[in-house]
Every structure is written in structure tokens, then in C-alpha cells.
């Protein structure tokens, strides 16, 4: 059973910390904005991929949710660069066009259909795994035991998600920057330094960059761990900070 860790933010992590946890690798690349995940944005992503690989761990590149013709070439070049320079072979995808491009460009790349792919395919029926297989995808992320069975039966690898992202709503634009106008011009990473919330009577939401009302869902049901063991799932642990990720890692190990 392989285990991978993915943090919301990697500021200040050292090479020793990347090597220390009993995990096989790290998920790198923000779903929306690398300025939130890395101190130096896209440059920070590249630096961190280098650190992880030098620490002897696998780097998984998580590609963005919103790939328009504006940023598609840049993300494609980034994926290509990580593949050639750092030996990255596993990619989290949720855009059909990008998966198609990557599968053609790098046939030996391992493509995982991300849990956020539910934005493009909300129902898991018998057609979806076959469609993804034709696309070139080899695995699917999910936090639901019932889905693990269906994914495995369809011949795809299961990536069991611990710490699934939950939210009230999200946008391709940053609420902090565009909607709330919290600062002028350049991104000041207010999503990292300020506690923002939108409140109305009996209802409130945190503002976390592109997300409103964001939280993580830790599996409490033993069925999750039973299914993950049964289907030989790769475990994907997502957390905001390293201590939380390590705690979840210990929980997963205790159940395996």
C-alpha cells in the first residue's frame, strides 16, 4: 500500500521533513493557485518538486482545476518539465482535454482522475471508468467505500482519499482577491495571513482563496479502511499542515 501526503501549504518545510514521514511521496501543485501553496508561487512548486525528489520521495504533480487556452500551454510545459527533469511520472488530473494531451504526450505517465473530477463527472456509473480508461487514466481518487468497489471492479486503481476537501462553494476566481478586493495589484497572500469570513444570520462561511466554507473530511467509518485494504488502494492523505497529515498517517497505518 503506497501512501502519499498533500498539504494545503508547504511554506517552511525542509528537506528533512519531506524525507521524515513514512510516506512514499507528496502531492504538489494547488488545484487553484500556487501562490497559496508555495511561498514563491509557481517557482516554489518547482523548488519543492526538486526538494522532494532529492529527499528520495516521489512527487505527484496535481494539475489545476481550471485549464483554459490561457494557461493550458504553461501547465503542459510544467508537466513536461517535471517529467523530463525530475522523473515525475504520476499526475492528478481533472480536465478531460489535459488528460488526453498528457496520455498522448507521455504514454508511460500514470494518470489519476482526481477527487475534484466530480466537478466534471458527478455520478459514478459503469460508463465513467470505461470513459476514463479510454482517455488514458489508470486510477481514480475517492473517499467513499462504495465507489472504491466500483472503481476496482472496472479495472482501475483505487486512490483512497483521507482528508477530502469539503466546501460550500468555489470559484475559478479568488474570492479574496477579486470578489472581496482585499488588496490592490499583486497577490499579498491574504489567504495565508488573514482570517476572513462572510457572515449572515445563522450562516457563515470562511473565505479561503478560491473556496468558501472549506473544511477537511476525515474518514470516521471503519468501512473506509476496510475497503482501502480490500482493494489495495493507494492512500492519499490531505491536510492543511504537516502535524495533521502525520496524525492521519498514523491513523491509516494503524488500520492497515
Amino acid at each position: 500500500m503506497s501512501v502519499y501526503l498533500g498539504l494545503t501549504n508547504y511554506d517552511g518545510l525542509t528537506a528533512e521533513q519531506f524525507a521524515a514521514p513514512a510516506a512514499d511521496g507528496w502531492v504538489l501543485g494547488d488545484l487553484f493557485c500556487n501562490d497559496r501553496m508555495f511561498r514563491h508561487g509557481d517557482n516554489g512548486l518547482t523548488d519543492t518538486v526538486r526538494q522532494v525528489v532529492r529527499a528520495g520521495r516521489e512527487a505527484i504533480y496535481q494539475t489545476p482545476m481550471y485549464l483554459t487556452d490561457r494557461n493550458f500551454p504553461a501547465i503542459a510545459r510544467t508537466a513536461d518539465y517535471f517529467y523530463e527533469e525530475y522523473g515525475v511520472r504520476t499526475f492528478l488530473v481533472q480536465d478531460v482535454g489535459f488528460a488526453d494531451w498528457l496520455a498522448e504526450r507521455r504514454p508511460d505517465a500514470h494518470l489519476i482522475w482526481s477527487r475534484m473530477g466530480r466537478s466534471r463527472a458527478s455520478i459514478l456509473n459503469r460508463e465513467l471508468p470505461e470513459f476514463l480508461r479510454q482517455l488514458g487514466v489508470q486510477a481514480m481518487e475517492t473517499s467513499m467505500p462504495g465507489r472504491m468497489a466500483r472503481i476496482s471492479d472496472a479495472g482501475l486503481d483505487v486512490c483512497a482519499v483521507c482528508g477530502d476537501l469539503r466546501y460550500h462553494t468555489l470559484s475559478r476566481e479568488c474570492y479574496t482577491k477579486y470578489l472581496l478586493g482585499c488588496y490592490d495589484g499583486l497577490c499579498g497572500r491574504a489567504c495565508r495571513s488573514e482570517k476572513l469570513s462572510l457572515n449572515r444570520e445563522r450562516f457563515s462561511m470562511s473565505v479561503d482563496g478560491h473556496l468558501l466554507g472549506a473544511s477537511r473530511q476525515e474518514p470516521k467509518d471503519p468501512a473506509f479502511y476496510q475497503a482501502a485494504n480490500k482493494y489495495a488502494a493507494h492512500i492519499m492523505i490531505y491536510a492543511d499542515e504537516l502535524p495533521e497529515a502525520e496524525r492521519l498517517l498514523n491513523t491509516v497505518r494503524a488500520h492497515s
Partner: protein, 286 residues
């Protein structure tokens, strides 16, 4: 002459004739049991057959929306219904489930296959993939910017494109929004359109603000979309009683018809603004 289509929603059979009278070129309806809208706003197979006959007699088209993902237990019934729809001559099926769309591309013999906005198509590569699946038209994501639409239309000119020209356009990604849409004391409440107080590090900021956009109507800038090459202009609202849809149809009809009578200078300015300098459209530059 620039071709375009005004696509209007019908939630009941009685809506069809008035919508066509108001200027709709095509009508779209939901298939009972397979759309994400309430059952009462969808049509049965028998009603659709009559609707198709009516539309075709009036020189109009009928599209069937299969919105939303299709649960496993409904798949076989769906494919049976699709066969019936295909044989009865509906003009298009709008699919919103990637796996089902791929399957329908092999099943359909007559009707066109359209890709719903719910599929989340944001780039040319995805649209090329849809083309390989035999999709004839793509309904573009509502949160694409003009230049992004332009890039797609220039890269994939042999695909037909549709936009939501009149309806609720959301700042949020409305395909995966979990914000409550509830009935509060008789009033329908969409939480993103309510006013919120912003707190910053625990301190209240003013003024109150909402986080969603109001209803939009693109009829005022329909010329710009026509310049881009958008073909179909969809009005949302299958669950809205059709008397409320009719004025929106008439307004959009006026705007689309007025494009043909624009002066050469006006359309040239639009052409420049829409960055189509490399792809001049004869009808736009008089």
C-alpha cells in the same frame, strides 16, 4: 448573412407555440426522469413526439436535455428512451455525463449530440476530444472570459458553440455549488445572492455584500458574441412559467435581428474589439 439560433426553454407542451411565436428558432425540453430539474418541468416521450412534430412544422428544432449525471440504475432505461427519441426525429440530445456521452456517440443515428455546460469544457483540447466523440455542438462554460472563448472558437472553428445568453450566471462554479437554494418563508432564497458581512481577523468590515451575480441578459452585447462566432443563444428557465420567458425571447430576438442591420462602421469596431482580425467575417465588415 450571419446564422444564429435563439434556443428557448419549455417546461410544458403548452409553452411551445407561444415561444415559437415570440421568435425562438429552437426549443429545448427535459426528458422526464433524466434531467436535473423537477419532474413537473420535463416532458414524457409521448409529449416530446408531439413537440417535435410541432417544431418541425414551424421550421424549428427540438433539443432534449439529459442534464446531470445518470445513476447506474437508470442507464438501461435511458438508452431505450434515447433510441426512441432518435427514431422520432428530435434534432439533438444534450448530454452532461461524460461516460454516457461517449456511449451515445455510438448509439445515435440521426440526432445530433450536444455537450452540456455541465461537462465543464474550458479549453480547445477538450473540445477536440468532444469532436472525436462525434459531438456537433458545445455549450461553453459560463465562467469563460471573452478571450478564452475567442481562443477556442478560432482553434476549433468547425464545432458549433452555444452560450447561456439569458439566465443566472454565477461567480461560483455553479456545477458544484453546495450553497443552499431554499424556500424561506415562501420566498426562494439563493444564498449567494444574499448580503453578507465581511469579517477580517475578527473585525467587521462594511458595507454588506453578496457573493453572486444577479440574473444576466446578454442581449445587449449579442453582437460581440456573434462576432466571436457563437451560433446559439440559450435562454435558461425550464422551471419558469413560460409567460415570464416570452419577453426575454422577444428581446433576444430583436437583438439578434438588429445585428443584421448594423452599420459597417459599428460592426468593424466590434470586430476589432473581439480580436478577430485574422478571421474576418464578410458579413461583419460592410
Amino acid at each position: 448573412m450571419v446564422r444564429s439560433e435563439l434556443l428557448a426553454p419549455a417546461g410544458e407542451p403548452a409553452a411551445l407555440a407561444p415561444l415559437l411565436d415570440a421568435g425562438a428558432d429552437a426549443i429545448y425540453v427535459g426528458l422526464s426522469g433524466f434531467s436535473s430539474r423537477p419532474q413537473s418541468s420535463d416532458l414524457s416521450l409521448e409529449e416530446i413526439e408531439k413537440a417535435a412534430a410541432l417544431c418541425h412544422a414551424r421550421g424549428a428544432r427540438l433539443h432534449i436535455a439529459l442534464n446531470g449525471g445518470v445513476p447506474e440504475e437508470k442507464l438501461d432505461a435511458l438508452y431505450n428512451s434515447v433510441s426512441a427519441l432518435d427514431e422520432m426525429g428530435v434534432d439533438a440530445l444534450i448530454a452532461a455525463d461524460w461516460g454516457v456521452l461517449a456511449r451515445l456517440s455510438k448509439q445515435l443515428r440521426h440526432a445530433e449530440l450536444h455537450a452540456s455546460t455541465l461537462l465543464g469544457t474550458y479549453n480547445s483540447r477538450t473540445i477536440r476530444y468532444l469532436q472525436k466523440l462525434g459531438v456537433r455542438r458545445t455549450v461553453l462554460s459560463t465562467n469563460l472570459y471573452f478571450d478564452e472563448m475567442d481562443a477556442i472558437l478560432q482553434t476549433v472553428p468547425d464545432m458549433e458553440f452555444e452560450i447561456v445568453a439569458d439566465g443566472g450566471i454565477c461567480f461560483n462554479d455553479n456545477r458544484i455549488c453546495e450553497l443552499p437554494h431554499v424556500n424561506e418563508g415562501g420566498a426562494y432564497t439563493v444564498y449567494c445572492q444574499q448580503d453578507y458581512t465581511l469579517f477580517r481577523n475578527g473585525r467587521e468590515q462594511s458595507p454588506k455584500r453578496s457573493i453572486g451575480a444577479r440574473h444576466i441578459s446578454s442581449w445587449e452585447i449579442v453582437d460581440a458574441y456573434l462576432e466571436l462566432g457563437i451560433f446559439s443563444f440559450k435562454i435558461e428557465g425550464r422551471t419558469v412559467p413560460y409567460p415570464y420567458i416570452l419577453p426575454r425571447v422577444r428581446k433576444l430576438r430583436q437583438a439578434l435581428d438588429a445585428y443584421e442591420t448594423r452599420s459597417g462602421r459599428e460592426t468593424s469596431v466590434l470586430h476589432y474589439l473581439c480580436r478577430r482580425s485574422g478571421h474576418a467575417r464578410e458579413a461583419a465588415v460592410k
